[in-house]
Each structure stands twice: as C-alpha cells, then as structure tokens.
Amino acid sequence: MSVAILDEKKEKFLQALEANFSASDLLSVTEGLEFPTRRAEKWKYTRVNAISKEAWQMGAGALDNVESYNPFPELDAVSIYVVNGQVAYISEDLPEGLTIESEHDEEGALQRKNIFTALNYSLNPVSLNISAAKNQIIAQPVHIIFVNSGELTTAQTRVKIAAEQSSFLHVMESFVSADDSKKWVSHINESDVHANAKLTISKWQALGENGYMMTHEFSQQGADATYTSNVVTKNGTWTRNDSWSDLNGKNGECNLNGIYLPTAKEHVDNTTTVDHKVPHCESNELYKGVIYDAASGVFNGKVFVRPDAQLTNAFQQNSNIVMTENGTMNSKPELEIYADDVKCSHGSTTGQFDDIALFYLMARGISRQNAKEMLVTAFFQEVLDAMKVDEFEGNLISL
C-alpha cells in the first residue's frame, strides 16, 4: 500500500516537470529514488508537497542591474553572480591560488544520492568549481550571489569546493529573489577539505515570499582540517537545509552554525548528519531560531560516532524561542555512539519570548520594536560570535 502512495507522489512530481524537461531523462535519473513523505524519519515534520505539483521551468540566465540584488554590496569579495542557476558574471581579478571554473557533469559521483540531488545534476549539468591551492590563504571571501526571478522558475545549482592542503577559503552564498513570484531553488555543495585546510561556507537565505529552497551540503574532511558551515535563513516560504559532514581524518573539526527567524507561515528545517569515523575529531553544532507568528521550525541533528572514533568530542545545541501560540518548533537531537571513550553532549530548548525582559527594557523608554530587536539579537549573539561573519550581524533583524 505505502509503496503505491510513494510512487503516486513521485509520478505527479515528475509529470509536472515533464512540461519543460525531457520525460525519459527524468525517469532514468530518478530510478529507484523515492519522493520523500512524512513517513520517512528525516521528513517527519516537513512536507514537500508545495513544490511537487508545479510545472517548473528554467528562467533566463541574465538580469538587468544584477549587482543591485547583492545583499552585502560593501563586502570586499570575489563576486560571482548566478541568475536563475546560470553563471552571469565572475570577477576577473582572482587572487593567487584561487581557481573558479565551470564543469559539465550530468550525473555526479555523490554517495548519498536522493531524488532532488539526482534531478539537480540532470536539470542543470553545469557545476561551479572553486578551489584554493595548496598552502594558499585566500583572504578575500568568494561571494556568490544567486538571484532568482520569474514565475515558476527553478534554479538547480551546484558549487563544488576543494580546499587543498593547508589552504584557507571562505565562500559566501547569498540567495535572493528579484520578485515575489513562486520559485524553487535547489542547491548542492560538495566540499573536500584536505589535510590541515580550513573551509567556511556561509549561506544567506533570503528568497522571501514564494521562495522554496532546498540545500544539500556534503563535506569530506581530511586530517587536521576544519570545515565550518554557517546558515542564516532570513526569510523564504519554505526552506530545507540538509547537511552531511564526514570526518575522515584525525583531528578534524566540524562546525555547523545556524540562525533562522521565520515569520508568517514560513517553514525552516535544518537536518544535519555529522559522521565521526576516526578518532580525535571534534564537532560543534549550534542552531538557534526565533519562530514568529504561525511559522514553524525543525531541527533534526544526527551524530554518529563510529566504533573507531575514540576520543571524539561532539556537541550539539539547539535553542528556540517561539513568539506566539501559533508557532511550532520540532527539535530532535540524535546521538548514535558506538565508541566508548567519547565526550558528547546535546541540548535542546524551546521557550517563549521573555516578556519580563521586554517589559524591563521598555520601562526604561525603549520602544517595543527596538526592545524586541535587542532581545532577539542578544539571543542570536552566541551564534553570530561562532559564525564570525560581520555582514550577518547588522542585517539579521532589519528590513
């Protein structure tokens, strides 16, 4: 019975896509891959229905005044503009040791394939590959601005990053909309952080009204490597961020930081998997959210500590404030520990807004709006400190 239902959903999803994409390709690339339903553990609190019935199409690959959509125009960065999934502009002056190129690949070599990653490759075979050469400290961040426009457009994008041995690289990815029409953005990061390298990916998600966004972040870390993922979900109707971090070399450090502040009926889901495969690694997860109005949030954090991964330090914290009675938050930390000499902790809290603190600030003459902003910023400060991205600090609450 349940198999039939799964098939039916998938069939509808693919049928809708067939309006603009080749039917036989869709069938072959998704063969054996299910369309997720809430029966699946990792999709229990997030429904994919909203994107499954639309005849998505590729939008135009250019846009007038594309720079005007850069949310951080003051940032001194190597800029790349991607319009509706197609590269529109790449800075010409690249610092020494930094390479940026496009690659054509319709299948990819992902170990953890699912229906969306498979379609991502098939619908847009071009990946953007960024690499930092061995021993190169790339001081300027690379900032990719993904601009989306047009009714029922989908952007299927991939950024593959290689941080070679002992290199340093920060890639910022901003996702914005040029208009309020319905759009589906599906983005993949595949990162290799080689021995002793440091890679940070910082995402700014601001697709706004009618923006449906899913990201998949895969990272492979070598010995002594540090991978940091920062995700701020500023707005967007529906957001699902999946990440898989594999710690494959000793003394690796993996940091996952997230901030989300959905309003109205927005939905944000951060689902993470950290896999400690070898000894002496550390992972730190810090996710904080403020759920306004009738919005909803999900945090699903899985940590594996494999039998060989002795002396692992794994920390996970998810804290939430639900502002109204209509908001919901589902938080599910999960540790699966198969080694005995490890230090692991996880914590999850969901509380209400501190009305007494609000009253205290207002009783000193601070307006309701400013007092709320102060308290929300204070709540997020710990994550902002962990992220160390100045551009996020001032822009969290404003607009």
Partner: protein, 249 residues
C-alpha cells in the same frame, strides 16, 4: 504629578487592586508599606504599564496626560521610572548600550539630538560613582552576574541616568546591608528636587530614616487603608499591621 483614582486591576483573573486612590504632588516623597501580597508591586507594575496586569476600572492622571493610555516606553519617556523589586538579568544585552539607546529614545521624544559619546561617558562615570558601581558596568550584560545589592544599585544608577520626574522604588532596600542602603539612599536623596516625586515601597522603617517621606500609606487588600506622617512607619514596625486591619473590617 500623579493622581490615581479608584484603581482596580487584576492579574490572571485575580482581583488585586480594589479601588486605590492616591495623589502625589511634585517634590513629594510617599512611602507605601503593607503586608506581603497586598498589591504593592502590582500597583508599581500597573503604573509602569506591565500588560500582564489588566486595569478594569479607574484612572491615572500623570502630569496632565492619561497614563493608562500610554505604552510602557511612552510612560518612561514622559518621565516615569520603576526600580524593580526583582531586577531582570538580560544576557547578551549590554548594560551601557541599552541605557544609551534608552536615553536617546527619550531625547528624540523630547525633540533633542542624540547625546554625544563623550558627554554620555561622562554621565555614566558621574552617575555610576554616585552609586559606587563605577567600573562594574563595562562590557556587562544587564544585571548579569550582579549580586543582589549590585542589581539594586544598578536600578538607582539607571534612574540617575534617565532623570525621571516620577520614580517608583519597589523594595529597593530589601536585602541590602547598611552600607549599600546608605549608597542607595544617597543616590535617591541627591535627586530629590521640587520637580521630582518618589513613591517608595518598603517593608522596613529603617529606609525611611534615610529617605524621609512626606507621607506613609498602608496598602492592604488592594486599597490604601491608612495614611499618616513619617511617624506612622515607626508605629507599624512596632505594632505590625493587624491592629489597622482590624480597624478597617
């Protein structure tokens, strides 16, 4: 300054204030005493505008404006100040930055330019020295890690910074040792002026040796049941409240 008429207020369906009348004129200091749970903090919260408390009847005139019609911050901007019985710890909100924001909001409300950084720092220095908190405020979150006495002194520091015309001190003396009590009283007395009034809520007559009131009121069961000169406090300390309560019923 403030004229409270027939004030009724409830919280979560419980009637707490049951027809309270009180007038405080400019320059006066009024003390309010009364047993635990009689409604003293409720009165303070209602005047400051805490919306957990619902006013069901009555009016409050604050220097010509309808106090109950103003939002919490507007009351503060109009010159109302409440020193909390239990000052709130707010991790992540800097004590100094928040005070600067408060001061500047008030100035904007009065049509004044934001205070200059240098002037603000000088003011912080002067007022924090007044309550012997100098040096304890830098890089600190609001009340975080403060001892009970420090929190109370921080309330008086904030009062001095914001320069209100009507200040309510809700048990600012409770739990203070004699040195801290002197510091707090000195802070308050240095602010006494013909234009400023105080409502001092306390359980202990001792405070009133330092902050000498013009009137002492007894609040019981949501009403003021007795008003007298400062000597009333001595009598209350000696005899307790029972004789007064019996007199009323």
């Amino acid at each position: 300054m403030i004229k409270i008429k027939n004030l009724h207020a409830e919280v979560e369906g419980n009637k707490i204030l049951k027809g309270l009348n009180l007038e405080v004129k400019a320059g006066e200091v009024h003390a309010i005493m009364g047993p635990n749970g009689s409604g003293k903090s409720t009165l303070a919260s209602v005047l400051a505008g805490n919306d957990a408390y619902e006013v069901t009847e009555g009016s409050v005139d604050f220097d010509g404006s309808d106090l109950l019609d103003l939002d919490v911050d507007e009351r503060a901007k109009e010159g109302m100040f409440l020193a909390f019985q239990y000052p709130v710890e707010i991790p992540g909100v800097s004590n100094i930055n928040f005070l600067k924001a408060a001061l500047n909001e008030k100035r904007a409300y009065q049509g004044l330019e934001p205070i200059k950084a240098k002037e603000f720092l000088a003011l912080v220095k002067e007022k924090s020295e007044l309550v012997e908190l100098a040096g304890k405020l830098k890089n600190r979150s609001v009340n975080e890690g403060f001892s009970g006495g420090e929190k109370k002194r921080n309330e008086i520091f904030q009062m001095a910074m914001l320069d209100p015309k009507f200040a309510i001190l809700d048990e600012t003396d409770s739990g203070l040792d004699i040195d801290a009590l002197k510091v707090v009283s000195h802070g308050v007395n240095s602010m006494r002026s013909p234009e400023r009034s105080f409502l001092v809520i306390t359980h202990y007559q001792r405070l009133l040796d330092y902050i000498v009131p013009d009137f002492v009121h007894v609040l019981y069961n949501g009403k003021i049941i007795k008003t007298g000169p400062k000597e009333l406090a001595l009598e209350l300390e000696e005899k307790g409240y029972d004789w007064l309560i019996e007199e009323t019923v």
